[in-house]
Symmetry: C2
Subunit: 103 residues, 2 copies
DNA sequence: TCAATAGTTCAATTATATTGAACTATTGAA
DNA sequence: TTCAATAGTTCAATATAATTGAACTATTGA
């Protein structure tokens, strides 16, 4: 049984968030999640079909451990949501400012 | 004679800026440059004295190639300035938003 | 029961970061 | 003019992180 580790709000760091968003693929994942504004499976939010699923899994882990997404396994798939509220509490305005220029 | 390469404004990328600022040491360099609000030599802006100068040189190169600082060699030292105006033209508000939460 | 689905984990390879050592260029003093 | 000191760069070696294929786990639905 896979259990995911998520940082609490106070453990979200600036450089952690920046590192996570400093990758074009992860930025695209986050952008597609803001557009959907709902849970997305990993494959649904995949930035491109050519990426190996182990790489995709790695990127989701980075986003998760930076505190940017929350992942829950439901049935056979993972349901990922943006932790917009948490990030906005921790760093008000930051995420929107970055996403303003993403894509 | 060392000649430094700087990207033009339109070649500054979001992920480039985020990658450059996603490192705690580079973030401290940038913060100390905003506090000084003037040219700083590499060693003057060094985030800690224990860092090898080759590592420091590497960090300044990353910042330079991301378009965050401009470097000119004057005499024996490098004079580094933040390209605040350029970054603000390219991504209005982004740099201030990030620096708001730095350190 | 068993194949399909959705993802994780592992091990190997590739790429990036860190550092000491050797180098370059400039200055200032003897 | 020589030469040591200063301020950095570059190089080669090592250490750390990213990418991927292959094997694995867990869940569902036929």
């Amino acid at each position: 049984m896979v259990q995911f580790v998520h940082p609490s709000i106070e453990d979200i760091t600036l450089t952690g968030v920046l590192s996570a968003l400093a990758d074009p693929m992860r930025l695209r994942i986050v952008v597609s999640m803001t557009e959907k504004n709902d849970c997305m499976s990993c494959s649904e939010a995949a930035p491109c079909s050519s990426m190996a699923k182990s790489t995709l899994s790695h990127h989701f882990r980075i986003l998760r451990e930076a505190g940017i997404i929350r992942t829950v396994k439901v049935g056979v798939e993972n349901r990922n949501v943006l932790r917009s509220e948490d990030i906005n509490n921790r760093f008000p305005g930051l995420l929107n400012e970055i996403l303003k220029y993403a894509n």
